[in-house]
């Protein structure tokens, strides 16, 4: 077990990544009760946006200088696609039975994947993503990759900024009101359509940051990368209590840790040597989802809905 600190660090980094993506699921669900299954693809498109920005910049530009441009481009692409999806795919279906937007989301997810596959140059297989050169940072008990430093800074900054935004600003307050009672929010003078678009946009911006972090960490982007990452982030959102932004981040961290621990240690349990290692990590992540749904369906931080007198 002397690699435990390393496994914990891996788990937390992975979890921060899941948490950033999970914000998009949880915010949209909290306001329109829609599981936006296209959110994984919004994340993926952010990755390709960042890559495009890097390719446009003159060759030889240092990654450190390119990074802000890549982040902005990733956010612009993700936010634009998410706002377009809301406006043209989901808004016309508001008020329709819940199954209709859900199926639309799945269809949109496939369409976006295939669009990148078909039209992005050389995207039929994974495309290499720029990486920070140099050895891993050695922090004594464990090491982290150079690219992970970005995630380590971005995740807490994003979360704190979001927490302040939701609880302190006028738009944040309007967002809470809209999620608790949309019709009454309108009676207060809140333009709920604009609030819904804002929720999609914030979720997409966070997914874009996650996509840059994902590229730096794994060294490539792939048109399929949104599928499994999206499912994991959705799991994280449910784990933390869907609709709750702090729950999404905590759910992400718990899921990341569980996945890292399972990958590293399950094979040491007598009789389970077949079930450890990286090949089984997704299985353990979804086993955790099933357990949460059975034992605590409202999620770790979710509240039972009993507040309507």
């Amino acid at each position: 077990m002397n690699d435990l600190p390393q496994q914990l660090a891996n788990g937390l980094l992975l979890g921060a990544l899941y948490g950033l993506i999970a914000i998009g699921y949880t915010m949209v669900y909290g306001i329109v009760q829609l599981i936006n299954f296209a959110h994984g693809e919004i994340f993926m498109i952010g990755g390709f946006g960042a890559l495009t920005a890097f390719l446009i910049l003159p060759t030889g530009t240092s990654l450190l200088i390119a990074l802000p441009v890549m982040i902005l481009m990733a956010m612009a692409c993700s936010v634009l696609v998410a706002m377009g999806a809301e406006r043209f795919a989901y808004r016309p279906l508001r008020g329709a039975p819940r199954l209709a937007p859900l199926i639309t989301a799945i269809g949109l997810s496939i369409a976006l994947q295939q669009a990148i596959w078909a039209f992005y140059p050389d995207a039929k297989k994974a495309r290499p993503f720029p990486e920070f050169e140099g050895p891993r940072f050695d922090l004594g008990a464990f090491t982290i990759g150079r690219g992970d430093l970005f995630l380590l800074i971005a995740a807490p900054v994003c979360m704190i900024a979001l927490g302040v935004f939701v609880s302190k600003t006028r738009t944040g307050r309007a967002m809470q009101a809209t999620s608790q009672d949309p019709d009454t929010a309108k009676l207060m003078g809140i333009n709920t359509d604009r609030i819904i678009v804002t929720a999609f946009a914030i979720g997409a911006a966070f997914a874009a940051i996650a996509a840059v972090a994902h590229g730096l960490r794994y060294g490539n982007v792939d048109f399929r990368m949104g599928f499994i990452a999206g499912l994991k982030a959705f799991t994280a959102a449910v784990l933390g209590g869907i609709g709750n932004i702090y729950g999404a981040m905590i759910g992400g961290l718990v899921l990341g840790l569980a996945e890292a621990m399972a990958t590293a240690y399950i094979e040491n349990i007598p009789g389970m040597s077949q079930l450890g290692g990286g090949a089984w990590k997704d299985v353990w992540a979804f086993v955790l989802l099933i357990l949460v749904l059975l034992l605590r369906p409202q999620g770790l931080l979710g509240q039972r809905v009993a507040d309507r007198a």
Binding site: T184, K186, A309
Partner: protein, 238 residues
């Protein structure tokens, strides 16, 4: 003098089912006007249409000289029309203070908002005592006070109250009715929807009796209170 609110031949439908079948009434500034009637008469539908949550199928609504038919719900409160909805609909996971602040969402005069919050606490002292509490933890009557206080925060020209006495204890109901009288004395114009006809008519200047989507009887509050058919149908007398 033209009325503050003028409703002409208003029709509202849910799909093919017409819930309001052409009603006309008006509210003069400073008056309390009440719509009474049983469940399903179309009273709540009428209020929800006035505040833009439902779209009229036909007819005209004129408020303060402006037509309302095509104005989206979130722009109506800015015109001076506030709605305290049926079932109270306070924001359960926000505090009492935050609920009141949301009532003033479109206002920008911070000092004025603060003053009006204090006024709401004077009107309903229990809200002041519990200002930091989540609104979902309040009793039904307290939630009703909060819903009324919140609607007043927009400084409305016309306050619409939908069933403020619903589900309340007699004491709490008396308190709410008393508050409505106080608000009127301060010059607030009120459109009151009630199933409790006795209470509503005894404080209204004008009353309209609705039955399955139509106004079947109109008159002053006093007249209706003493009208034989009203007494039979709504006040439980033989």
């Amino acid at each position: 003098m033209t009325a503050l609110l003028e409703v002409e031949d208003l029709k509202v439908a849910y799909g093919k089912i017409e819930a309001v079948k052409g009603i006309s009434f008006s509210v003069e500034a400073g008056q309390i006007v009440t719509l009474i009637g049983t469940n399903g008469a179309g009273k709540t539908t009428t209020l929800r249409t006035l505040s833009g949550l439902l779209k009229p199928a036909a007819g005209h609504i004129t408020f303060d000289g402006k037509p309302l038919g095509a104005v989206p719900a979130h722009k109506i409160v800015a015109l001076g029309l506030a709605h305290s909805p049926e079932g109270r609909h306070i924001f359960p996971r926000l505090t009492i203070t935050e609920n009141l602040q949301l009532g003033a969402f479109l206002r920008t005069d911070k000092a004025g908002i603060e003053k009006d919050i204090q006024r709401a606490y004077e009107l309903f002292p229990i809200l002041g005592e519990r200002r930091k509490q989540a609104a979902g933890t309040l009793s039904g009557g307290e939630q009703q006070m909060l819903a009324m206080g919140r609607a007043l925060m927009s400084q409305p020209k016309l306050l619409m109250l939908d069933e403020p006495s619903m589900g309340l204890s007699p004491i709490m109901m008396q308190k709410i009715m008393q508050t409505i009288v106080e608000l009127k004395a301060e010059g607030t114009t009120i459109l009151l929807v009630e199933q409790n006809a006795q209470a509503a008519l005894s404080l209204a200047d004008q009353g309209h009796v609705m039955e399955i989507g139509k106004i079947v009887l109109s008159g002053s509050g006093d007249d209706l209170l003493h009208d034989e058919s009203v007494r039979k149908a709504y006040l439980g007398e033989d």
